[in-house]
Symmetry: C3
Subunit: 155 residues, 3 copies
């Protein structure tokens, strides 16, 4: 018998809306199944837990051919805001909440949330810049320690 | 003795040609080694198994400095089509088939192929929109269940 | 007791500066904790170990809303060079060395470094094109074999 997934340790490294949601959805899905979950935000992914930024994440409208928007159009001012509004609306329809609310929900469900120390230092951030759900700012070494027994999923 | 990799559960989340191939190559490589493999398409990655789109995936010619094309050139109409043609040609030379054929081959080799329910709902898609190799549309919870004993690889 | 992470097998598939660093930082962090580590460079990630290119990796200034630079500005000539200079400076401040030096350091710390054969063939590269830290050019099958007992982390 194959061993069931009992714990996941999910890294969120991107700061676009479509770069953040997959990791959140996987963390939430894990908790709903009784699977232990940890979220580790690093690099641009930190934007998703920075208090002043987390409500303003945007969809990247260039560099993603699957959006089916020509670069020359996707790069126009306002396009990203429009795509973001559309995606948020579709998310809402399938009961996926906005980032802040989703993070509160996932944290309430028992998922630990951490920020990456190296990136926090690099971007000159402080613990106070983050939403209250961020349990701690930890090193990569700490991350590995907390990932004992987990599947590491880098998104 | 370290435990050999016996099963991989590969998530494909991007819809550009260069975003889809690594996951397909890893799934195919796994099957060739007798390693069990599952493919799970989510977010823009779904494009790779949508019947009307899978033959038209494109290379992103902006947002990737490693392509060595200035953004101002990469964003011009036709550039993505040209880069796609070039990459497809190089792929063919090293015996990597086009996406549709590759997916058929991987599926024939015993790899299960799934679409992500949340994204399918978000994009208003139906089971009929997918190529016949898609075995089922499943939730993230189902995905974890099917990943028992596997290394989860998010691409 | 949950089983500690004892080995990581990190795939680097992107060639932008911010696409390469997370994998390097995770490999370095692993070695510093006494965790076994392997690096596998594939697709555009190969740029980070190509002798003539590894000193010139650039930040992508479009397609990443978390950079907070409008696409129309991010696409201007010179923007990527400027953002690259800024990021490199911040990296230096937190004691993260430039890519070449970092790879030497990680390799010296006992991390094996491999290039992906399929991509090497696709891009018409040769073993001589790579920095000396690249131990070998291996297939995906070899990669899985070398990943026995490891957490596979795709970045």
């Amino acid at each position: 018998m194959a061993e069931p997934i009992e714990k996941v340790s999910i890294v969120i490294s991107k700061g676009s809306l479509e770069g953040v949601y997959p990791g959140l959805i996987m963390a939430n899905g894990a908790r709903m199944e009784g699977i232990e979950a940890t979220l580790f935000f690093t690099f641009f992914g930190l934007d998703a837990v920075i208090d002043k930024r987390m409500d303003h994440l945007k969809v990247a409208t260039v560099g993603n051919p699957a959006l089916h928007i020509p670069t020359i159009v996707g790069g126009l001012p306002g396009m990203s805001a429009m795509a973001t509004k559309m995606m948020s609306k579709e998310m809402e329809k399938i009961d996926i909440p906005p980032v802040r609310e989703f993070i509160e929900m996932i944290h309430d469900a028992g998922c630990d949330i951490y920020g990456c120390k190296a990136t926090v230092d690099m971007f000159h951030l402080k613990k106070e810049d983050f939403c209250e759900q961020v349990d701690d700012i930890i090193t990569v070494g700490d991350f590995y320690e907390k990932s004992a027994g987990a599947q590491i999923i880098f998104t």
